[in-house]
Subunit: 330 residues, 2 copies
Amino acid sequence: RCFHFCKLPGRVMGIRLLRFTSVVIIVLLLVAGALTALLPTIKDDKLPNSRREPKAQSQSALDSFTLIMQTYNRTDLLLKLLNHYQAIPHLHKVIVVWNNIGEKTPEEMWNSLGPHPVPVVFKVQTVNRMRNRLQNFPDLETKAVLMMDDDTLVSAHDLAFAFSVWQQFPEHIVGFVPRKHISTPSGVYSYGSFELQNPGFGNGDQYSMVLIGAAFFHSGYLEDFQRQPEAVYALIDETQNCDDIAMNFLVAKHTGKPSGVFVKPVDIRNLEKDTNSGYSGMWHRAEHLLQRSYCVNKLVNIYDGMPLKYSNIMISQFGFPNYANHKNKM
Amino acid sequence: RCFHFCKLPGRVMGIRLLRFTSVVIIVLLLVAGALTALLPTIKDDKLPNSRREPKAQSQSALDSFTLIMQTYNRTDLLLKLLNHYQAIPHLHKVIVVWNNIGEKTPEEMWNSLGPHPVPVVFKVQTVNRMRNRLQNFPDLETKAVLMMDDDTLVSAHDLAFAFSVWQQFPEHIVGFVPRKHISTPSGVYSYGSFELQNPGFGNGDQYSMVLIGAAFFHSGYLEDFQRQPEAVYALIDETQNCDDIAMNFLVAKHTGKPSGVFVKPVDIRNLEKDTNSGYSGMWHRAEHLLQRSYCVNKLVNIYDGMPLKYSNIMISQFGFPNYANHKNKM
C-alpha cells in the first residue's frame, strides 16, 4: 500500500516516510486516547465491588429519607435489619432510638464493622417510652421519614416503590399496614382490621389508618406531634401503645383527608420469632387490641371529634414483580 | 298522681281537670308528630323495590357522570351494553354518538321499551369519523365523562370504584387500559404495552397513556380538544385512529404530569365476538399498531416535544372482591 511513495527514489524519501508514519501513529494514539475519555462511564450499579462515594453527600433532602427505628430488647434483630436497611436506595441516614435504658449501644461494634453506606446515629433514651421515636430529632435532615418497627423486614423493592408513592402524596402516611375504626350504634368506636365489618360505604372494605411501624411520612409531622394536647402524651404513656393511632389522628386533622395511603407490600415479614431475646413484642399482650379501641375513643374525646376518614385505594407497582401483573381477559 | 287537685272539692275542679288533661293529651300528640317528622329518612339503598325519583333530578353535576359511547356497525352490542350501563350508580345521562351514517337510530325502539333509569340521547353524525366522540356536546351537564367503546363491558363495581378514584384525581384520565411509548436510540418512538421493553426507570414496567375507550376524564378536556392544532384532526381523520393518543398528549401537556391513572379492572370483557354484524373493530386492521407508533411520532412533531410522562401506580379496590385481598404474611 505504498504505491505512491515507494516509487520515489532514494534514502531521503525513506526518512520522510519514517517521520510521516511516526507522526501518523502518534496522532492515532492521541485520538484513541481522547475517544477512551469520551466513553460513557460505567454506572455504579454495574460494579458492585467498587467503592462508592458516601451517599450522604449525593442525596438531596427531597430525594432521600431518614430511617427511624426504635428498639427495645431485640438488638439481634436490630442489627440484622440494619444490615438490610442500610443499603436501601435513597436512604440518607439511620436514627436508632435506643430504648434499652442503661445498656450500652452497639455503636462500637457498628463502627468496627465499617465502612457503612450511610451514617447511623444511636439516640440513647432516659426512659423506655413508646413515643420516644416521635421526637423531633435534630439529626433529621430529610423531608421524608421512614419509620420501621425493629422486628419488621420489608424488601428494598417495596420500600423504593413506596418512597416514590410518598413523593406523590407527601402529606399522607404512605405505608404497608392498613387498619380501620368502625362506629357502632352506641357511638362507641372499635378498632380493627379486615375481620371487622366493612364501614358500609359501598362495596368492599375501607381503611382509616396506616400504621407508622412500616411507613413513610413527612418529617413535619414530628414537629407537629410536639404540639399536641398533654392528654395525648399521657394516653400513650399510660398504654405504652397507640402512638401510631395518635399520629393518624394528627395527620387526618391536618389534611381533612384520609391520613394514609396503603401500598400493598410484595414482601413484608415479621422477624420476632427469630429473636434470641425471648422478647415477643407489645402486640402479644392480651389487652393490646382492646387498648387500641380504648385509645380511639379517648382520642376522639381529646380532639373533640372523629377526624379519621376512610379510603379504599390500594396501590401496587405496575409490572412488578410480574411484568404483566395488570393483564386482563380483554 | 293527682294528689294536689283531687283533694279539692266539687264539680268545678272536675271540669278544670278535664280541660287540663285534654290540653296535655293534645300537646303530647303534637310532640309525637314533631318527633316523627324528625326521624332520619330511610336511605334509598335499603328499599330496592321502591320507585326512585329519576336520577337526573337527584344527581348533582359533581356526583355523577355522563357516559359517551360512539357506535359503528354494532347496534346489537350497543343495545346490550346500554341495558347494562344505564343502571350504573352515579350515571347522569348517556350520549350515543351514532356513526351509522344515513341509518335510523334505535331511538323509537328505545322509547318503546321505557321507562329507563336515565335519559339517552342519540347524536346523529353526518360523517363517520373516529373523533366524533370528542365533540363538546351541549348535552353534557356533568364534570365527569365516562367514555366506553361500543364493544367493551366493564362491571358496575369496577365503574363505581373508578369513578370514586377519578373524583380524587379529576385532572387525570382514570381508566382500565394502560399503554406506553418507548424511545429508541434513533429518537423514534414506538407504541405498545407490556410486551415492549420497560422504559428503564427502576424496577417493573411503566405506562404513559390510559386509553379513553374505557375511562373517566374531565369534560373540560373535550372543550380543550376543540382548540388543538388542525394537524391533530387531520392525523386522526387520516388514520381513523389515535384520537385517544392525542387526548393523552393533551392531558399530559396540560398537567405536566402522567396523563392517566390506571385502575386494575376486576371484570372487563370485549364483546366483539358476540356481534351479529360481522364487524370486528378497527384494532384488527393489520396496520393498527404501526399506525399508533406513527401517530406518537407525528404528535411529537405537532406538539414540538414529548409531553407524555411515565407512571407505575396501579390502583385496586381495598377489600374487594375478596375482603382480605390486602392480607400478607405478617
